[in-house]
């Protein structure tokens, strides 16, 4: 222990004694760092950039060889095609987006409504075999969806949940509740129980005390947790493709995947649909970013 502390401390003074002449190497290092990072960023972001380009290119530019990076005609037709069918009505894709909104939204709300009070209870009360219960709750997340999807498919067919939005909502909720309980329990632990005690002495019931005092302090944590749950449900692919068959129920991820695989692929449409699909999560995360940071770092900065 002592050794590692010494090691951790020693670079400080060394840096302080660095002669001024060596600053230029410092600057050179910055240049190299920036260059390396820029190259990495370009490589990482290239697919995204290419997707954005493809979504606004005319079809003939999409298939042009050699590929056109800059000198193409900009068009928004692909985006229109995502929502408006050739007969002027809504497309199946737009229906899929609506399904995604409903399924992801409702399952996130359900998971939050069930998970937050459960987390509060686990944090505040002595429960028999609390650790075992919490481990069991977590263990339901151990198996990846692909492993359980077949038995669930069979069960759903039996009970009539196959190819229903309710079925998807239930399975996403079941996956998000454990996550919500675990995340939120950490946040509840951080809020001193004395607030509730004090409120109870002031004449409130335990539930009122939770509602009026603890819950407002949990909001950043709830926002962070809900965003993660929302992203999971919104992006989920395996359950969505196995447990749905009709266009009326299908969510966006399998619907977009369905665009690929015919004899010809309308890459412009695929790219535009993907962007429309990615945008809500980006925008939503951006809007709640303050809460996200506050939520994720809550444990680190308090007391």
């Amino acid at each position: 222990m002592a050794v590692s502390v010494d090691e951790a401390v020693s670079p400080g003074p060394v840096r302080d004694h660095r002669p001024p002449g060596r600053r230029s190497t410092g600057r050179g290092r910055v240049v190299i760092e920036v260059a390396v990072l820029a190259v990495l960023a370009a490589v990482m972001l290239f697919p995204v950039l290419w997707m954005i380009e493809t979504s606004i290119k005319e079809n003939r530019d999409v298939y042009a060889i050699p590929a056109k990076f800059f000198d193409f005609t900009v068009t928004l037709d692909h985006f229109k095609d995502v929502f408006v069918a050739s007969d002027g009505g809504p497309t199946t894709l737009s229906g899929a987006f609506l399904n995604s909104v409903i399924v992801a939204g409702v399952s996130t709300v359900l998971a939050t409504v069930l998970g937050v009070p459960a987390a509060w209870a686990y944090s505040r009360f002595s429960v028999k075999a609390k650790k075992d219960q919490l481990f069991f709750i977590l263990s339901t997340r151990f198996m990846p969806p692909v492993v359980v999807v077949i038995p669930i498919f069979l069960m759903y067919r039996q009970v009539g949940l196959f190819d229903t939005k309710l079925g998807l909502i239930l399975i996403y909720t079941a996956f998000n509740v454990p996550f919500t309980i675990w995340m939120m329990k950490g946040f509840v632990d951080e809020v001193p129980a004395e607030y509730e005690d004090a409120a109870m002495l002031d004449g409130y019931t335990r539930l009122q005390a939770f509602w009026k005092f603890t819950l407002p302090l949990l909001l950043p944590g709830i926002a962070a947790t809900a965003v993660f749950a929302l992203i999971f449900s919104w992006n989920e692919f395996v359950f969505a493709i196995f447990l749905t068959s009709s266009d009326a129920v299908r969510t966006a991820p399998p619907a977009i995947a369905g665009l690929i695989g015919g004899t010809t692929v309308d890459w412009g449409l695929v790219a535009a649909a993907s962007i429309v699909f990615a945008l809500p999560v980006l925008v939503f995360s951006y809007l709640v970013r303050k809460h996200l940071v506050a939520g994720v770092t809550l444990g680190a900065v308090r007391r």
């Binding site: 028999k128 001193p192 005690d197 004090a198 002495l201 002031d202 004449g203 019931t205």
Partner: protein, 355 residues
């Protein structure tokens, strides 16, 4: 205002921990009653049971003439101050104070009047428009106290309210709490593990150990005649010297030959331990009358006094409190003698006071 009566209290948490084994307390109306004990002895649990925040496994709690076992905390008409002050973080001082009154549904004028009164008592006027995070620890504590007293409850419960303050502020607040309690005449149960705090505050002190009451008494009684070896070792700084003694020719004698005046009615045929306060011993020149030979092991200067640790040929060294004008060097040969009256004597096997 009301006294508090706790009978055969027992609390076992669902995980099996027995926090309170058996506690009986009879706290008088208007009394400042201190519960003192080491960490984990069940002080907080007892206090929370009185407040109604924790349901006892068995036993009865009465506040005034009312049996409160089945009353919710809000119905018990008591106020509690926590170690962590639990001021509502989103409310300004003014609203933190008014909060319990508004919860009760008092008319606005009365709320304002009572808040003003509490603010005056705790000198909070300049702080009324601040939120808790802009108050220092001491200020937060004063707000927490003020919030307890606006309600004019039948009793105050305090759970180590000064632990988070630095030493100087703690001493000030101690005086302030004592003064305030005297002024208002409201029953107060004060929990602490700091014996100095207990001694200086309490009308009476209950010493708890492992979920049981070891002794209840005034600070003086508790100091002079600790009811058990546990209390003897817990109270006082440095604590009592516990010396194995035997009754021989009208004196209590330790193995080293140190002679103590025996208390009357000492039972026979038991191994005895005498509790001797450091100030009831004296370090003398070697060979002084009535002294046994010894050697100074170490000396601690405390500013206004010196604590000598003296080896007098017994198993355990003793601590002796001496004024500054008498000085002995470490390792010096000295004499040791007893100067006080009869010390409390304990049975070595039951660890209880026998005389």
């Amino acid at each position: 205002m009301a006294g508090i009566e706790v009978t055969t209290l027992h609390k076992r948490y669902p995980d099996g921990t027995v926090a309170v084994e058996h506690v009986d307390l009879s706290i008088g109306d208007g009394e400042l009653f201190v519960m003192l004990g080491p960490s984990g002895c069940g002080k907080t649990t007892t206090l929370r049971a009185i407040a109604g925040l924790e349901r006892q496994t068995s036993g009865d709690i009465r506040i005034g003439d009312t049996l409160v076992n089945d009353l919710s905390p809000g119905e018990r008409d008591i106020a509690m101050v926590f170690q962590f002050y639990a001021l509502y973080p989103h409310l300004r001082t003014r609203d933190n104070l008014a909060f319990p009154l508004r919860a009760e549904g008092l008319p606005k004028a009365e709320v304002e009047e009572r808040v003003a009164e509490a603010a005056r008592l705790m000198r909070l006027d300049p702080l009324l428009d601040r939120r808790p995070h802009r108050l220092s620890g001491g200020e937060q504590q004063r707000v927490a106290l003020a919030r307890a007293l606006v309600r004019r409850p039948r009793a105050f419960l305090m759970d180590e309210p000064l632990t988070n303050l630095d030493a100087e502020l703690r001493a000030d607040m101690r005086t302030e709490i004592k003064h305030l309690q005297g002024e208002l005449g409201t029953t107060m149960v004060y929990v602490t593990h700091d014996q100095v705090e207990a001694m200086s505050l309490g009308h009476r002190i209950a010493i708890l150990n492992k979920g049981r009451v070891e002794q209840i008494g005034t600070p003086l009684e508790v100091y002079d005649r600790p009811a058990s070896l546990f209390c003897a070792a817990f109270i006082g700084s440095p604590p009592m010297n516990l010396i194995e003694v035997e009754l021989a020719d009208g004196k209590l004698r330790s193995k080293s030959g140190l002679a103590l005046t025996p208390p009357p009615n000492l039972p026979r045929d038991r191994s005895l331990i005498a509790g001797v306060r450091p100030e009831a011993l004296e370090v003398t020149e070697p060979g002084a009358e009535g002294s046994v030979p010894g050697r100074v092991v170490s000396a601690e200067w405390l500013g206004d006094e010196i604590i000598y640790v003296v080896d007098h040929g017994d198993q355990r060294d003793v601590r002796v409190r001496m004024p500054l004008n008498v000085r002995f060097a470490a390792d010096a040969p000295v004499g040791l003698r007893h100067t006080g009256g009869p010390p409390p004597v304990y049975d070595a096997s039951t660890e209880e006071l026998v005389a």
